[in-house]
Every structure is written in structure tokens, then in C-alpha cells.
Symmetry: C2
Subunit: 464 residues, 2 copies
Amino acid sequence: MKTRIDLTAEQIAHLAGLVEGRISTHQSVLEQHSHDESAFVPVLPSAVVMVQSTEEVSAVLAYCNSEKIPVVAFGAGTSLEGHVVPLHGGVSVDLSNMEKIIEVRPDDLCVRVEPGVHRMALNAKLANEGLFFSVDPGADATIGGMCATGAAGTTTVRYGSMRENVMALTAVLADGTVINTGRATRKLSAGYDLTRLLIGSEGTLAVITEVTLRVFGIPEKMAAAVVRFPHLTDGVAAATAIVKMGIAVARCEFLDAKCIKYLNSYDSLTLVEAPTLFFEFHGSPRGVEEDAMSVQEIVREFDGTDFEWTSEENQRRKLWSARHNSHWATLAAHPGKKSVSTDMAVPLSRLAEAVALAERTLSQHSFPHSILGHVADGNFHCQIITDPAIKGQTEEIRKVVSEITFKIIAMGGTCTGEHGIGAGKIDSLVSETGAEAVDVMRSIKKALDPNGILNPGKIFTLAD
Amino acid sequence: MKTRIDLTAEQIAHLAGLVEGRISTHQSVLEQHSHDESAFVPVLPSAVVMVQSTEEVSAVLAYCNSEKIPVVAFGAGTSLEGHVVPLHGGVSVDLSNMEKIIEVRPDDLCVRVEPGVHRMALNAKLANEGLFFSVDPGADATIGGMCATGAAGTTTVRYGSMRENVMALTAVLADGTVINTGRATRKLSAGYDLTRLLIGSEGTLAVITEVTLRVFGIPEKMAAAVVRFPHLTDGVAAATAIVKMGIAVARCEFLDAKCIKYLNSYDSLTLVEAPTLFFEFHGSPRGVEEDAMSVQEIVREFDGTDFEWTSEENQRRKLWSARHNSHWATLAAHPGKKSVSTDMAVPLSRLAEAVALAERTLSQHSFPHSILGHVADGNFHCQIITDPAIKGQTEEIRKVVSEITFKIIAMGGTCTGEHGIGAGKIDSLVSETGAEAVDVMRSIKKALDPNGILNPGKIFTLAD
């Protein structure tokens, strides 16, 4: 699929008939569906279809498949690798109207939702039942989008990523076939794990239309802590030591001095601008206290100072809200600019070295950048500012990132811990897992979507 | 593939040349590879090949593929759904010589092993480093087999099943292609999750030849507890309540009075013969004490009595060793017999009802049976004794099991939490996940193994 597909008037009329007229070709709507949060060049879809049910998605896909029209599923548009950019035109299928929380099941510790539900709205609802959904990327993404990218967040170290928290899916294949995968059970070994095959498949295998998520009881006690370090690598090494000791931290996030500066400005905080770890502890009151004490002892060995902890709810929330805003805080400090976010992860023992390598390489260039990460998981992000007005700058940054990425892969790392491959890391994926494994992915794609209509140009290239 | 394939002398000679002569057609060797721990009727392979490397597996598979010879991978032969039974003859590829622990990486909390490594040998080695591998099915299975069936165990409630603990794989496809999936990183979102597609694929997609596993530090403090209940369902309901309270038990196992009786006899224990929960707590000394106190309070509400706990290491080990022996303890009480083990799992809130349903249905028949389970995960097993000498008895038991299974599926449950589909639950899988999802599994199978040589007759049927 090399060319751009634009819909004919007849095709638009046919699609309109499938969704009670909820189709748009207005410029502003097309623009809204042309990009995500990344610096990828926007591409307009030919039309945007607003779907409201699994049946509508099925009808739209069956038709697009018969007409070989590319389809990109769209949720909140908060992805970071160009996932929702309709590289080949066609239809953007917007699922944001499918935002019902279908069923909260406190006794089964699970919830069934439509894919357009946002994670924050879900948690607002769950809080009434004393429950929470743990996966928290920075953005207020939709659950469907979080499934599609295999999202993770600050609590993954304790509660897992989407892979560990999705129990069951309803999804529509390219030809309109509706499938159900998984069950609302905590264990399952029934045939191929299609649930986890779809998680992280970035809209290339199916469109997800219903999700059953695992949820947790809100812990009896939660407390946050902040500690500062003289150097970037001290903080990272301290986090790794804590994980190795088996202390069950609920969150453990690293932010460099520049991140802290941006957060102070964006969220009116007064944190000292130094490399910093944010922690959170969940459990029984005594357990939390014991964990915090153990962590304080360890960070001291890595020259961590000014350990401050709080179980005051407002302060705790403010801290994490600031952490979740870091992407926008960084952009706000650079008005009119965009950013390239890396997402490498390495084996735990290589993290300090990997972060130092990234910092050293980026320092040789003049692009503003900051580093932060889910360090207890060995996963870190460099947010690099690019000026879309300067021709070739984003490409230059991508070249530098690529150089770092290949070194990280050589260290046994991955090019992406949680953002996915999208349009930007197709070569990195081959380098990381090998052409043979990518060929297996391609075979699966061809078996399930022989016309290649679902999100073409993402994860891998398909021969025509 | 409907017929039995027997190898020609020429084919045997060719295979012998690929593995330095390590091929056998001795009756005793064929018999050893004709069955697993289940009551499925044994079927002899035509030959058994002992492989020693990924390269040899690749050569053997490439040849078998070109000759359309069925291949079944064999590890310890401890599966419970006939997985390793070579239904269509052909070659049993025995990986038990591939038992090197290649690399222990304490600083990365992972270990790289060959597939023939047994879980107990691995843990003996890891203990030297203060580490443990958490997944513990009853049997001393091989790591490769545990990957293939998506195994779980008594600690899954805390540490996850194989799905959560395998980081990376090397595997050989039907045509001999070697692929690498995943990385030794704690997070990964790089393309389709081939690691988890292979886990639980029961040898039908590839033969696993190397595994990178996540390991954990041995907790500072471990303590076990035992508590008795007047009725089966009280114990189950207590376990569910504990999970809902968010108490991080490390193990929570239910055993009915008959199980306890068999264990007493097999392991020289003196437990009171009543429905019983076995618990384990992991953590800091104060955390463990606090958890045990909370659990004691909850079980009291469900008429749990005689709460006894111990942190004495020998007693703790003895308790869990007995639990792991329950399969053999039950068989030992019925000399010359075999057993059919069910493996249903339900949403947490339905567990007491599901166990009561199973108990009620089985009580209407005369087959000896006992019930036990990983109740904090909603997963339970009925072990039903069958006499292979009585014609049709196993089939009759399977009919009763099937009746229970379809009711469990109607309750939102699964036919298998950890044992897999194998040869015995092909119909249940369709009923559970739908013909459309099974068709997707079949498409993936056809894309990766077009000749259908890998473990034919398991998970689903393939049209010729």
C-alpha cells in the first residue's frame, strides 16, 4: 500500500449509511485526526467516521475491506510514535463516542468498558467503589488506545502494564468478524493468547471495541516521598538497588534537574532543581512505614539527600499530577515547539550506564532535552525539543535518537518499553528482535488482514 | 492430518545423521514418550530424537517439515491434557538433554536457561544467589514445558504465571527458522507480543529452545499458616474475601477433606481431615505478621478455626512439598488407577458457587474424587480417579467433566486456568471463546506451520 487512498463520494455515502450519517470531511475534523502528540508530519484522513457500537465498527470494517480502504482507529490522539497518523489516507474510525463504563464488578475486581473511556474518568467512577485501575501513562488516554499501544505508567513496577491488566477483549477483524478473547478470570490458559497478541498490535490486527480490565482495591495507606541526588546516575543506581532489595515500591520515578524546573514552572511547585526520585508506597500503615524507612536507608548510600515523605492526600496527588504533566510542562517551556520522546528500556543493571550514554550523546547537540523515567522498570524517556519550522531538524534529532537506540539494543535493551513502534521505529524493531521474528509478525498480519487495510505503515512495512 | 505417520528406515537414518545418532525406536523409549500424567490413551511415536542444541532442533524440524512428519516436543512428560501424546505418530523430540542453566544474572533479576531445565534444579541453583523462580506447578516440570502450557502454581496470586515471568524466548518454527522474541527487560512494547503468543501454544507453533525468566529475591521473611473450615464453601469464600481486601498473600491454597487425608498418608502428616486453607506470607518481618493477623481475622468470620502459623523453615517446606505432591498422593491412595484433573477458573465472586456445583455433580457419581485449588486466583481442580482397566470409564468421567465445564463457561469461567487445552478440551475452547476466535488461532497456526507438523490434534482440529 504505497499510495494515498481518497474516498469517492459514493464510498462516503455508503459509509454514512452504515453509521447514521456520523461521517465528516470537514477540514477541522480531518486535521484533528491527522496527528498525535508526536512530531510526526500530520497526514489528513480522507474522512472521519464516528462509531457507536461493535456492530457499526464491524459494518465499517467489512465495507472498507471490500473496498481496500485503509482504516486507522482513533481514541484520544495521545500516542507518541505517530500511531494514529493515517499515512495512506482512508478512514479514521473515531471511537471516542464509545465511552460507556458498561459494568463495574467490585466482587470480581474487574470492570468492563467501551474503548473510548478515558483512564481518568474510569478512575473517578471506580473510586466510589474503593477501587482503582492502575495503568497511568502521562496522558489521559483512552482504554482502547492504551490496549493498542501496550501502555504502562508510573505504577507498572507494582501493578503491571496493560499486558497484565487486560483480562478480555472484544475486537473486530479487518473483514468485520467480531471476536471475543479471554475471560474475566484471573488465570487463563485456553488456546493462543489472542488478548495479548492484540495488546500492543497498534491497530494493525483488529479494532478493539470492548475491554475487561483488572482493578485493585485502593490500598489502606499510601505515602509519597521525594529525594534528591547530586548526579543523574546516582538517582538511577539508587532506584535499581531498591528493586533488587525486593522492596515493593508502588511507584519509583526519576526526573532530571531540567524536568523539575519545567514542573515547578508549570505546576507552581518549589522543588529544588536537582536530579530527583519520586516514590510511592502502598500497603498497611506499618508496612508503608517500614518500606519508606528501608528506601531512605538505601538512597542515603547513593548520596540521596533531603528525603521528604508525606501521606497527606492533597500533597501526594499534587506530586503525581505534576509528574503526569511532565510532557506538557516541557512543551510549555518551549512555546510553538514539538518534541521527540524516546522510550528505551534496558536490563536493570545497565540502566545507569544507558542513561549516562543518552545524556552524553544528547549533550553533544544543541537541542533542549530532559530525561525522566520509570527507573525501577529500567525504562527511561528523553524528551527532545524540535522546532517544526526548521526544515530537517526533527529528522536530525531522529538520527541522534537512532544512534542511541542501536547502542541500547546492543546492551540487550529495547527501543520501546511502553510507547510502541508506530511509524518511527520500524528499523529499530528489526535490529532488536531480528528479521525472522518480524517476518513472523508480518505472517500473522497477512493471515488476519490480507488486504493490509488496518493502520498500514506501522510496526513494519508490508510488501505490495 | 488424519492418519498415523510412521517413519521409513531412510527417514530414520537421515534424522540420525542430524543428531549424531541420538535417535531411538526401542519399545521402552517409545513407551516413555507415548503419554503424560493424564489418563489419555498412550500413542507411540515412530521414533524419539534426543536433541542437544537450537541448531539440531532447527535441522530436525526443517527435515520433518519437508517430509511432513509430525513433531511433538517432549520435556518431563508431566502435562495433564495429553499434550505430549503423539496422536499421529511421527517424531517425539526430547529436549531433556538441553538442561544447561546458561546464565544467572542477579543484577538483572533474570536467568537464561535451556528448555530441559527442571524447575526444582533451577531453584536449587538460584538459592545460592538469594534468588528464586516463582512458578511452581505440582510437578517438577521442565521450563520449556511450562512455557508451552502457560503453567502457573501456588504463588501465581503474588508473582504471576509463566505469562508474567518469561521475558524472552528462542524458538524454532516448523520450517527450521530460529526466532528470538522479547528482551531481558522488565518492560517491552516492541511489535506483536510473540513471547506470549508462544506461551500456552502447546508446541503447535514452535519448539522453544531457550528461555529468559524473571526471578525474585528470596523475601526477608516467609511464614505459612493452616486453617480449617466446617464446609468446603466457607474456605473458598474466605479466600475470596482475603483477595478482595487486597492482602498480598504469597500463596492461598484450598484442599478438601479427602485431599488432606491423602496427604497425611503420603507425606506422614497429621493434619485434621477437614476442608483446609494453606497460606503463605512474604515480606518484611512486621509486614508478614500484619498480613497474618489480618487473614486470621477474616477467616474467623467464615468459621475458620485452629489458625496455626509457622515461620519455622522445615515445617514450612514440608507443608508445601506435601501440597505439591497432592496429585501423586491421590494416585497413591488408588493403586493402579489414573486420574482426570479438571482445571476450571471463574470470576472471583463465582468461586464458591462453582466449587459447590462441581462437588454436587461429582457426588452424584461413584468415582472417587477430591477438590483443591489456587482459590485466590479463582482456579480449582477436581481430581477424579479412573480405572483404565474398565472400558469406557474414563470417557464417562470426561462426559461428567464436560457437563460441569459447560456450566462453568456459562458462569463466565474458563475450561482451563493453567493446564491448557491439549487433546481433551477442544470443544470446550470453542464453547468458551467462540468459533471466530478459534478460527483466528487456526489462521495463525496455518501461517506459521502450513504443513501442520507441530503437535497436530491439540488445541483445535485442522481441516486436511
